[in-house]
Symmetry: C2
Subunit: 178 residues, 2 copies
């Protein structure tokens, strides 16, 4: 999600898309068998940028140079809003997905990774939502069906990049750790 997220002052903004987020998160999604990777931004120039990057790897020379990258970037779907994402999934699966947001802060209603890992076995579609910038807006978080625990390491420092946080989350939820 690039909107609605907050900046370092807590103001709601639309953040810029980062090229390597597209590559890294689609590669992680492909590795862990995720169905689709939605990139959400309401900004026309940002949507064009994503479409251009994806086209380079799907139809352009990128796919010939690195076919494995092509397989990953195929998972990317660009949408204006979360509602559009939910509609898209509903059309595909017949049902709206349950939404689960992530936040770097501990929230009272958080669920653990272990719990969400169990829920993923129940046949429901889940949409795991990550914010860019300084994180998703509080209003947005309040509307989600679930809030996932933050990824904590073993120190007080809690500032992973969104790319790395996504990879760690997918590994905890779907990986084998052997």
């Amino acid at each position: 999600m690039h909107y609605p997220v907050v900046n370092k002052h807590g103001e709601i903004i639309a953040s810029a898309v980062t090229n390597l987020d597209l590559h890294d998160i689609s590669r992680s999604a492909k590795t862990y068998g995720v169905g689709a990777f939605y990139v959400v931004t309401p900004l026309a120039d940002q949507k064009e940028l994503v479409e251009k990057i994806v086209a380079h790897w799907l139809k352009g020379t990128g796919g010939t140079y690195n076919p494995k990258r092509k397989e990953a970037l195929k998972l990317i779907v660009v949408k204006n809003t979360l509602d559009e994402v939910i509609d898209h999934i509903r059309k595909d699966t017949g049902d709206a997905p349950k939404t689960i947001v992530t936040s770097a802060n501990q929230k009272p209603r958080n669920i653990s990774f272990r719990r969400f890992r169990e829920m993923l076995q129940d046949g429901t579609s889940y949409l795991l939502i990550l914010g860019t910038g300084w994180g998703l807006s509080e209003n947005f978080i309040a509307k989600a069906d679930y809030v996932l625990n933050p990824v904590l390491g073993n120190t007080g420092y809690n500032h992973l990049s969104v790319r790395c946080a996504a990879a760690v989350m997918l590994d905890r939820l779907l990986g084998t750790n052997d």
Copy 2:
């Protein structure tokens, strides 16, 4: 490690340093309490690039803009070779670290994440080594004390970025997964 690594044709090359590798891997290292993040390249212009990026965040405007980023990038030490890294650790701790390399391929002498997680409790210094490009050279891998299992998801696709692979490895080795 940016040398000796292989390119897509299996030829030994020195790979270019990626700005976001520095940011992401130092942030992950800081999150999981890693002692230092060594960036190894024998290329003078690449070493200058790393020093310049790190200086921006440690001494320049970057550190004022984002003090948390400064804390992470402080972990970066640039060296020409693995031997220089080992000497640096020996001078600091009195002992050479055990080396453990990572590879996207399954090797006969691999150890599991679980095993390495146990080893990390034994008081020894360990140096976890990741290659850029298409991975570390076979010769280099053969000389390491240990080889860690590849990070596998739950699909046959096995092409995480080095940034994301590093984050997942640290989480498996040092995280809590709750």
